[in-house]
């Protein structure tokens, strides 16, 4: 069933059960996202896609909020723009990304977003905790300095590959991704070395071993393709 709602003053129609994000994209309006990835479920981890609901003035994540009839949504207000910029700055202040020597330099969703929101400096103090790098896996590596805790790897490995190697441990600023039961990745025997999490990761946190600066290019649509093809039984 089709529903009608208002997005940035324009009437648009959307399918029942659709998220605000999908409805907006169908209508040609782009909303910045970071933890959202086509092919896996949404969790609302990054808050980049926050939109404003008219009336209440409430801010909700577009990726996890379903549309409803008569809804009035604003996705681009000065306040939202400011919040998005603050969010990106907070991410950069939290860990030391060292873009200049990153495997994903130039192919990084976080970098793209920083440019998109116009981040020219970071207003917060840098925390830069000494994070470790796990290169125990024979093919891939994980650099926690560059992880933004979007959980794409967690969802990809669980929902698409079905191996559920990744998880998040602890809370708040202490949160970390872990592999297996917080073991070195190379010792987790459920990992099939399929490489899907490498592709899913929006930054250079998960990388192919031996890759050097700006060498990681990721084809994320392949993941959505795999998932859809399987669900729609396109191969049988």
């Amino acid at each position: 069933m089709s529903k009608t709602l208002t997005l940035n003053g324009q009437m648009i129609s959307a399918r029942e059960g659709e998220s605000i994000l999908d409805a907006a994209r169908d209508a040609g309006v782009s909303i910045p996202t970071l933890c959202h990835m086509n092919g896996v479920g949404d969790v609302g981890a990054c808050r980049m896609c926050l939109v404003e609901l008219a009336g209440s003035g409430k801010l909700v994540p577009a990726c996890t909020t379903k549309i409803s009839e008569g809804m009035e949504v604003n996705s681009d207000t000065p306040q939202l723009r400011e919040y998005r910029r603050m969010l990106v700055e907070l991410i950069f202040s939290e860990r030391n990304h060292v873009c200049a020597v990153c495997v994903a330099n130039g192919n990084c969703e976080l970098q793209d977003l920083a440019i998109h929101v116009g981040m020219d400096h970071v207003r917060y103090d840098y925390l830069y905790p000494a994070e470790n790098v796990d290169v125990s896996h024979p093919m891939f590596g994980m650099d926690h300095n560059r992880c933004i805790l979007c959980t794409r790897c967690v969802r990809t490995c669980d929902e698409i590959e079905g191996a559920h190697v990744w998880d998040i441990t602890a809370r708040g600023i202490k949160s970390h991704t872990i592999t297996g039961l917080a073991e070195p990745w190379g010792e987790v025997n459920t990992c099939t070395s399929c490489g899907k999490c490498v592709m899913a990761c929006p930054t250079g946190a998960i990388f192919k071993l031996g890759a050097t600066v700006a060498e990681m290019e990721k084809d994320r649509e392949k993941l959505a393709f795999l998932k859809n093809a399987r669900e729609r039984r396109e191969w049988v």
Partner: protein, 477 residues
Amino acid sequence: MSKTILIDPVSRIEGHAKITIYLDETGAVNDARFHVTEFRGFEKFCEGRPVGEMPSLTARICGICPVSHLLASAKAGDDILSVRIPIAAQKLRRLMNLGQIVQSHALSFFHLSAPDFLLGFDSPPAQRNVFGLMSSQTDLARGGIRLRQFGQTIIELLGGRKIHPAWAVPGGVRSGIGDDEINQIRERLPESIAVAQQALQLYKTLLETYHEEASIFGNFPSLFMSLVGRDGAWEHYDGVLRMVDSAGKTLCDIEPHHYADTLGEAVEAWNYLKYPYYKPMGYPDGMYRVGPLARLNVCTHIGTPLADAELREFRQRVGVDGVVSSSFQYHYARLIEILAGLERIGLLLDDPDLRSTHLRAAAGINQTEGVGMSEAPRGTLIHHYQVDQHGLITHMNLIIATGQNNLAMNRTVKQIAQHYIRPAHQANVPEGMLNRIEAGIRAFDPCLSCSTHALGQMPLHVSVLDANGQVVHEKMR
């Protein structure tokens, strides 16, 4: 009353340094020191990072010679992977290093040092720079700028960009070179060779003019060290690391993995540079020089016709029994190396191996220790890494050209100061004299951002002291 004269900062060298001259009671020079006050912490912060990241990380030590670090680091990485890299990768790396030597030497000679030779050491400081050179020696300055661009173009065509190309990797290189690029380089070779030859001709006409400078700008016997081909030929990327004595006789060939048995590193409280020395002779007697002058003193020949002819003339004109001891002649050596580099580039361009598409050997971590050496424009560069079983850096030591020339630079400053600064000057030393001291340092083309890569303390401040510790004079420019 003894006085101290400081020159800070030394202009037209890369990085930040200062020179202190200690006068005795009569106003004559008692001692002189060359301090480096810049601070970089590379060896420390590379710890914990994957070895594959080192070429691009360490290339950031220096904006002037990133390629040298890139190559030494990639070679240390090759060693840790225990691979013999594909032949094309090896030759492409050589090509890039030659481009680097040409561009860096061109910068040193034409942009930084030629103003002194051609406009005179006593010419007004405001004109004694590349812009002043531009207006009085337009053709030479232009040619020099184009020569530098030529070297940079090679680096850019191979690595994708001029500065910090993350192109060499443990196991090989990331991309090859096509016919278009090869032709682009080839087209500009004749012009570049002509510029190098003109500069050499001009330099030789100045040998008389600067006879006095040449005799006291770091003119003393010392050991020399550089890579050299197994047949004795001039080398910049591979071969053996050789130490020769002041008469040019081979003292030893140094095993890369055991360099620390032969090379010691002393530390002085007043300087952030480390002081490498030849261990068997102790510190500071084991002073040795690296760089263009050392390479030409260590090799038996260059292996290309134009450069070999120049090498013979060089040894006859400014050498004693074939060994050139004056640091002033680093400039001369640099010009010959530009020519040698250009000729070798020409040979490489014709090499069919260059077009091979097999560029990178794949391997895991097979050793926990690796040493990589290359000849940077300024001298031998050593990268030494220790890694854990997964290839994360646990320890790093970098031995850099300017550090190795440190002892010789100090000797040079003292020699020049003693010659030019007379008691009659009191502390008010004429500008031209100070410029000569700077020029003595600049002959080594020191790259100070590289050589102070190690963790130290913050820079010293400027002061001129007499015997009572009173500030009496400062010279800043």
